[in-house]
């Protein structure tokens, strides 16, 4: 692929998905400085990847794959951190109830959920982040390579987990 086409694809893809990439970076790294470095790495890999873009999936799917793979690579590399990551089932059992009654509390709750996301293993994290982006189970399966059945199961678990914890929090308030 020639450089002009590579550049044009990057401009189009990053322009349309810049905010989504920022959110993905936030889902993989809590530290602000490292988050910025990670985001830069995502942009760099995205630009490089367009040398081999074959158009067999949508640009959005392509961007998500690159961003999540860079994010996953980031946490797999940090081995001390990755050894403490858990799956959804474990997180579900250990998630404290949260109270979403007021806007301030909502923000605190959001920070708590984001913190919990940071404790998830890469694939569970990808599913939950894509689900929160509003992607369908089919789209999530296409990005992650996880079977649609498993994606649906995970989404169901995520929904139930969040609903139960928020309800518990509301009742306790």
């Amino acid at each position: 692929m020639d450089r002009d086409r590579q550049d044009a694809l990057y401009v189009e893809a990053s322009g349309a998905n810049a905010a989504a990439m920022r959110r993905v970076a936030r889902g993989y790294e809590a530290n602000a400085d490292r988050q910025r470095d990670l985001l830069q790495e995502m942009h760099l890999e995205l630009w490089l990847s367009f040398r081999s873009f074959d158009g067999r999936c949508s640009l959005r799917t392509w961007v998500y794959r690159i961003a999540h793979n860079v994010g996953a690579s980031h946490i797999v590399r940090a081995r001390r951190m990755s050894s403490r990551l858990v799956d959804l089932e474990t997180l579900d059992a250990g998630l404290p109830a949260v109270d979403g009654a007021t806007q301030v509390e909502q923000r605190v709750s959001a920070a708590m959920v984001l913190e919990l996301i940071h404790r998830l293993k890469p694939l569970d994290r990808q599913v939950i982040l894509l689900y929160m982006e509003g992607e369908s189970a089919g789209a999530i399966a296409e990005v992650t390579g996880v079977s649609p059945v498993n994606v649906a199961t995970k989404i169901h678990r995520i929904k139930r987990m969040l609903r139960e914890k928020y309800q518990e929090g509301g009742e306790n308030a």
Partner: protein
């Protein structure tokens, strides 16, 4: 559902030219590390080569030369530039690839560790540790001299290798489990 996705994260605007420069800078960034490895390897190689030439005991020379070869064989591949293959694949496949690469790396390193044994054995057989003790002027009556003159150095070296071999085996097993976990999630997808 919490409002997780407000746009208050870091913002980056990069032109294609800046990204191109970044890609080149990243290549350059790896060069000091490679140079460092080369310098350490060359210093070690020079020392082993010096020993192989200077010492007149055949077995010590063989041992030193063998160890030199193993070090080059073991750490030479580390100088190859690392690439992130399969970055545009679905995340599960990419992760499987990453875990397999980790597992392969640990296993290869582990197998190659065994190659140190003949070199160590030859050096010890030829009285290398004792020769080193003499060269340093150790008192022949001291416990350290006695230890170096006996099978102790060989046992310690092999035991250390054994521990490293075991640790790398555990790390390879862990990488295999991580891969299987991801593969299990992909099983019904196709």
């Amino acid at each position: 559902m919490p409002e997780l996705f407000e746009d208050d994260g870091p913002s980056i605007r990069l032109t294609a030219d800046e990204l191109c420069a970044l890609a080149e800078a990243r290549e350059k960034l790896n060069k000091p590390v490679s140079r460092g490895v080369v310098v350490v390897m060359l210093a070690l190689a020079a020392w082993l080569l010096y020993n192989a030439v200077r010492l007149d005991q055949l077995w010590i020379r063989i041992g030193q030369a063998w160890t030199l070869g193993v070090i080059v064989y073991l750490f030479g591949p580390a100088l190859r530039p690392r690439r992130r293959d399969g970055i545009s694949e679905p995340c599960a496949q990419f992760l499987v690839g990453q875990h397999e690469e980790r597992q392969r790396g640990y296993r290869e390193f582990r197998h190659r560790l065994l190659l140190f044994i003949p070199g160590i054995a030859a050096s010890c057989w030829g009285g290398g540790p004792e020769a080193a003790a003499k060269a340093r002027g150790l008192d022949p009556a001291s416990w350290l001299y006695h230890f170096l003159a006996g099978p102790g150095p060989f046992v310690v070296a092999v035991a250390t290798l054994g521990l490293v071999w075991f640790a790398f085996g555990k790390a390879a097993e862990k990488a295999g489990r991580d891969r299987d976990e991801v593969t299990g999630l992909m099983a019904h997808s196709r």
